[in-house]
């Protein structure tokens, strides 16, 4: 179980996360939604100790340290791979450093995405690089897999197939938190939606509860963000009127 308690983060004088408290446990698939600049990426980086923060992040009651950091994997969207190393080299490196590395899953996902094994990752397209980062994160053998905009640069067919593959390969104890703007696409895939707005958690709902209420995820997001349905008409009026 990951417990985030009263997490605050500032970049200089600018506060970007305010008293964020959240818990998630084994087997959950969580969608983290929010507008650009809401704090999704920063929250993930704080959980992984990649930036400083005040507050607490615990894994099974223990602080995150060298002993348990290997239980997290992260697809950052900022290309956390070695640009001049090929896929095979990355697999060897991961296997050297993570006892839990899953070679079979790595090979299978590389084949699924059709990524070349012997080309330096920097020579791949942006979409392929994003796919590779996701492959690395899923193959590490971590219990908690955080993915920040993992589908950026991927076409819709690749994305749809990938959700199906992901649903098929994840083990019951594996937890995935993914941030994305593609709300409707992931709504059938995730089990929980966490909404973040200007650094604050404003919504946290299980998919089952939404279903019981007869609401779609998009309805829930619109409601929570106080989405104004008339803003489009107003904008068109003011521009063309």
């Amino acid at each position: 179980m990951v417990e985030i308690k009263d997490l605050n983060k500032k970049y200089g004088m600018q506060q970007v996360l305010y008293d964020v408290s959240l818990s998630f446990g084994p087997g959950e698939i969580i969608g983290l939604f929010g507008e650009n600049g809401a704090g999704k990426t920063t929250l993930m980086k704080c959980v992984l100790g990649l930036c400083g923060y005040t507050g607490e992040v615990l894994l099974d009651g223990e602080k995150i340290s060298r002993e348990n950091i290997g239980r997290f994997a992260f697809a950052t969207g900022e290309h956390s791979f070695f640009p001049d190393l090929n896929a095979k080299g990355h697999a060897d490196f991961m296997a050297d450093h993570f006892e839990t590395f899953r070679q079979k899953r790595f090979d299978g996902l590389i084949e699924f995405f059709g990524l070349p094994q012997n080309k330096p990752i920097s020579k791949l397209s942006t979409g392929q690089q994003n796919q590779f980062e996701v492959v690395l994160a899923l193959s590490q053998g971590a219990d908690y897999i955080l993915m920040d905009e993992p589908f950026a640069g991927n076409d819709v067919f690749n994305r749809e197939d990938f959700y199906k593959v992901l649903a098929g390969i994840l083990e019951p104890n594996e937890t995935v938190m993914l941030s994305t703007h593609l709300i409707e696409e992931v709504s059938s895939f995730i089990g929980r939606a966490v909404l973040i707005h200007k650094g604050r958690i404003i919504g946290d709902m299980q998919a089952e509860d939404l279903e019981d209420q007869g609401k779609s995820l998009m309805d829930y997001v619109r409601e929570t963000y106080n989405y104004r349905a008339d803003r489009v008409a107003q904008a068109i009026d003011s521009i063309t009127g």
């Binding site: 990649l50 002993e67 997290f72 994997a73 956390s80 640009p83 450093h97």
Partner: protein, 164 residues
Amino acid sequence: MKTLEKLFPPGYPKIKRDIISNIIVVVVELLWATIWYNDRYAAGMQEIRYNYTEKLMSFNYYSRGVCSVYIMVLGFCILWAMSLRSYFSRRSRSDYLMKRLPNGGEMTRRWITAPLIMAVIGLVLFVIVLLLLHLSFMKVTPAKYLPEPEAIDLINAFIPDFTY
């Protein structure tokens, strides 16, 4: 080569180029230090020949260039270390991956070890050169032109004299 690769960022493409460049830097600096010493020593002997002085200056007056040049080698090693460190965040954010490794020292090891080894090798070579220059100073210089004993003491040879 595999062992060498483990001292650099994974996939770093310029291992051979960096090592050869640094060897060239050290060799050039050693030659420069030796030439510098010879120039100053020759000038010192010239002054004696023209009766401007009766004895040579202290050994470390002629050899201080060796220490100055080694500081430049250290500077190159520091720049190299900075370049290797920045590799992890230059074209990608592989530092995010390195910082999550269970082995916390892995990233530091991969950017500091090679420059450190080069700095130590450079130091050893410079010490050898300094010792050889000191030996030549003592053997080549006629006894009557040698300065006072404390000025040619081997221990003091390693303390550069910048007072002149």
